[in-house]
């Protein structure tokens, strides 16, 4: 098992899948000659050539549309959107085409497409580059949505996503590309529909995905020093949303915090909270607490930005409040 940065784990998954299956190809802006804006596709054009790693114009709708067509004709495209903020112009393709085609044709055709795209803020990139929109896609039947928070899951889920016969929104995060972790070599597959407990605990449950998983894990470590045992559930599978580990955890702890980097209203936490109210109401000891980005377009100002996105301190203070300790 090698220790890899998230971007290299993703790179490894792409490389392995491209080697394994000739129908897998990549397309996106700056992914070839430039190795990708975040260096996820580093070296792949050199290795697989310009026919399997396509540098495209800055035209998101065309990228997704092309990928859908290729997928319907038997290829397995992996399209990169430089950030999830840029996918807006291609929403018609993602929702009206990719997500619905298999249904509308009565299963006569399928769309084995992966759209890789990072969200997340904290880099002073302003309101048009800093948001997290996984909940938009998780709202749509026909799409699968995953958002891994560790390099191992990133590799395993990307490989699974490429092999899946449905369109998969593969949500990455700019702030996680450099985090390192052990990654199993070779054939390592992580299911797209299974969430899991990343850290066991007894007093409180914290749900988080993507970069917020790291924030939650850090917060749990701090809380432990103060005698609070937090269970962290990785919500890497957002659609279909695997609630089993959350419900099980809440039945044990009776208290739940959801953490997400996107906005709070109509967010991932809202959905999780609703499901918990439905499936574990009689086990709750307090309302579900949703921690999320401030409801403003992400500020450019670094000081404002700092307080607009959730951090460890938010989770710690909220956990203590839920436990009546502050």
């Amino acid at each position: 098992m090698a220790v890899l940065a998230m971007r290299d784990a993703l790179n490894q998954a792409l490389r392995e899948e491209m080697k394994r299956d000739e129908s897998v190809f990549l397309l996106g802006e700056d992914i070839g000659l430039y190795d990708g804006s975040f260096k996820v596709t580093r070296g792949l054009m050199k290795e697989f050539g310009e026919k399997r790693v396509l540098d495209t114009p800055i035209a998101e709708e065309i990228i997704i549309g092309t990928a859908i067509g290729a997928a319907m004709s038997g290829l397995r495209p992996v399209a990169e959107m430089m950030t999830v903020n840029f996918i807006m112009v291609a929403m018609d393709q993602v929702v009206n085409a990719a997500a619905h085609i298999r249904y509308m044709f009565g299963g006569g055709t399928k769309v084995p497409l992966v759209i890789r795209t990072p969200g997340g803020g904290g880099h002073q990139l302003g309101a048009q580059h800093s948001h997290s929109h996984e909940n938009w896609f998780a709202h749509v039947p026909g799409l699968k949505v995953v958002a891994p928070g560790t390099p191992a899951d990133a590799k395993g889920m990307l490989k699974s996503a490429i092999r899946d016969d449905n369109p998969v929104m593969f949500i990455e995060n700019e702030g996680t590309y450099a985090i390192k972790g052990e990654v199993p070599d070779g054939e390592h597959l992580v299911p797209l529909d299974k969430n899991e407990v990343k850290r066991p605990g007894d007093d409180i449950t914290i749900c988080a995905h993507s970069r917020m998983l790291i924030v939650a894990m850090d917060a749990a470590t701090e809380l432990e020093k103060e005698g609070i045992s937090a269970e962290v559930v990785d919500m890497r599978a957002l659609r279909p949303l695997d609630m089993a580990p959350v419900v099980e955890s809440v039945k044990k702890t009776s208290r739940l915090i959801t953490v997400e980097e996107g906005w709070r209203s109509y967010g991932v936490g809202s959905e999780i909270a609703s499901r918990v109210y439905e499936e574990a109401f009689d086990y709750l000891d307090a309302p579900v607490a949703r921690i999320a980005a401030a409801e403003v377009p992400a500020p450019y100002n670094k000081r404002l930005e700092k307080i607009a996105f959730p951090g460890k301190a938010d989770v710690i203070v909220t956990a203590k409040a839920l436990l009546g300790k502050n």
């Binding site: 940065a5 804006s37 975040f38 260096k39 997340g120 904290g122 880099h123 995060n173 700019e174 702030g175 996680t176 590309y177 450099a178 985090i179 390192k180 970069r211 790291i214 924030v215 850090d218 009776s254 915090i257 709070r264 109401f281 009689d282 086990y283 709750l284 000891d285 307090a286 309302p287 607490a289 949703r290 921690i291 999320a292 980005a293 401030a294 403003v296 670094k302 000081r303 700092k306 307080i307 607009a308 996105f309 959730p310 951090g311 460890k312 301190a313 938010d314 989770v315 203070v317 909220t318 409040a321 839920l322 009546g324």
Partner: protein, 470 residues
């Protein structure tokens, strides 16, 4: 003195190249003024000075590259050779602002600048960490060293902390899990003090109450349900004396109990009248009543008996009376004492004006009285003013017994178990539910016929129990 560090100009940038210094060494530079032009992997960018002062030293000359966070120049220094960038960033931050030592920041949350300072500190740290990790950006996309709550948690916190204490008559706040556990453990939530926001009863509150209740189970109430065998709790065995004689000192309360009972028994000439009451309808009524109301409003057989006695007493003022030094005092109010047995004492909380209260109020109040008595939380008021008392050992599978009158009353009703018996009805032997009660009477206050008639009235009411729910 302030260090100028190689800024991170794009997410994929690892090092930056100095294209052009826009100020010369020794030149004055103002905060915000363009200072240096840097080439990143994406673009050439003019970088502004973050501090004012003399550009005392250019560390990285034009045409050379440096990793993110590396010191590329100094502003306001003496121009001496710069120590390497390994120096912790925080100490540099302090050197930058000697006038604002961080330790003195009062109540950080109340000052808007607190966030600014923290962010500054964080940015300096980011740059340092980036430099330390060989140009890799900080793993989490920025150091997560903010210690104050940001906007992200504000909404969550206000939602958690929102509830104010309930107003009078407002519904008691109980968390869902607390409600469920209370039901499981048979904890009466009205007796539980909530420790959560707005007095919400939490899981821990109920667990604590259940634990106390569990310990109390051994001290079964004399007055509870009357189903035979309903209360065969494990009795805490009293250890057998090790010496030939073991002396047990009485508590003050035990001394009082002993005195009063002896006084009653030896001064009031007791006589006893026993009657067997058909409880089939009362048992059925209770069942129907409890099916119709919320679990928390359930009634016991004991409550029906209290109500029956109270109603009977309205017709027998001679029973609701006291012997008072050669005279008889008849009482207007009908206050029923309920004997509650505990291992170390016998106590009799009093349910006032029982004749005027509907059954469900009697049930609620007696539950509370008994609970307060058992948990030692009863006030002196709770024990005062009894005019008649009941003692119920029905749950201990007792056929019948006689009780000692509880002063200043002149009557006490001892209640046995409800038993399934073969009874004769219309010449047929049929199953029936029968309960034996024994009335102890102070013969100075009223006599046998009155006692029998009073008991007949109690019996009539319990055998036609619809009158009790009116």
């Amino acid at each position: 003195m302030a260090n100028v560090q190689m800024p991170r100009l794009s997410d994929s940038m690892e090092t930056g190249k100095i294209l052009r210094w826009l100020k010369k060494e020794g030149e004055e530079v103002k905060k915000g003024e363009p200072l240096v032009e840097i080439e990143s992997d994406k673009a050439n960018i003019e970088v502004e000075a973050y501090a004012s002062g003399k550009l005392s030293k250019i560390v990285v000359p034009e045409g050379e590259s440096a990793p993110i966070g590396a010191v590329i120049a100094e502003i306001g220094g003496d121009g001496e050779a710069t120590p390497k960038a390994e120096k912790p960033a925080e100490s540099k931050g302090k050197a930058e602002k000697p006038a604002e030592p961080q330790g003195q920041a009062p109540a950080a949350a109340t000052r808007p600048e607190a966030h600014v300072e923290q962010a500054d500190k964080a940015m300096a740290k980011t740059a340092q960490q980036a430099a330390d990790s060989g140009g890799e950006q900080y793993p989490h996309g920025g150091p997560d060293d903010r210690t104050e709550v940001g906007a992200a948690a504000q909404a969550a916190l206000s939602a958690i902390r929102r509830p104010a204490a309930p107003e009078n008559g407002e519904r008691q706040r109980v968390s869902p899990v607390a409600r469920r556990l209370a039901e499981e453990h048979g904890v009466d939530l009205r007796q539980v003090q909530g420790s959560g926001p707005g007095g919400r009863i939490t899981k821990e509150d109920v667990e604590a109450a259940a634990q106390q209740g569990g310990q109390r189970q051994a001290a079964a109430p004399v007055a509870a349900a009357t189903a035979p065998g309903a209360a065969r709790e494990e009795r805490q065995p009293t250890p057998r004396p090790k010496e030939e004689v073991e002396v047990v000192e009485l508590s003050k309360m035990q001394t009082t109990i002993a005195m009063r009972l002896a006084q009653s028994k030896f001064s009031a000439p007791h006589f006893y009248v026993t009657s067997e009451i058909a409880m089939d309808d009362a048992v059925r009524l209770r069942q129907m009543f409890n099916e119709a109301v919320d679990k928390s409003e359930a009634i016991s057989i004991n409550d029906l008996i209290i109500k029956a006695i109270a109603l009977a007493l309205t017709k027998f003022p001679e029973v609701n009376a006291s012997w008072a030094d050669g005279r008889i005092e008849r009482k207007r109010d009908i206050n029923i004492g309920i004997a509650v047995g505990l291992p170390d004492r016998l106590i009799v909380p009093v349910l006032r004006s029982a004749d005027q209260k509907p059954l469900k109020d009697i049930a609620q109040e007696s539950k509370q009285l008994i609970e307060r008595a058992r948990t030692n939380k009863a006030s002196a008021q709770d024990y005062m003013g009894n005019t008649f008392t009941i003692s119920n050992l029905g749950m201990y599978d007792v056929d019948q017994f006689t009780a000692i009158i509880n002063p200043p009353d002149s009557g006490i009703l001892a209640i046995g178990s409800i038993e399934d018996k073969a009874v004769v009805k219309d010449g047929q032997v049929v199953p029936g539910k029968r309960m034996r009660v024994t009335l102890s009477v102070d013969h100075r206050v009223f006599y046998g016929v009155t006692a029998a008639q009073f008991l007949q009235e109690v019996k009539r009411l319990l055998q036609s129990p619809m009158a009790l729910v009116l």
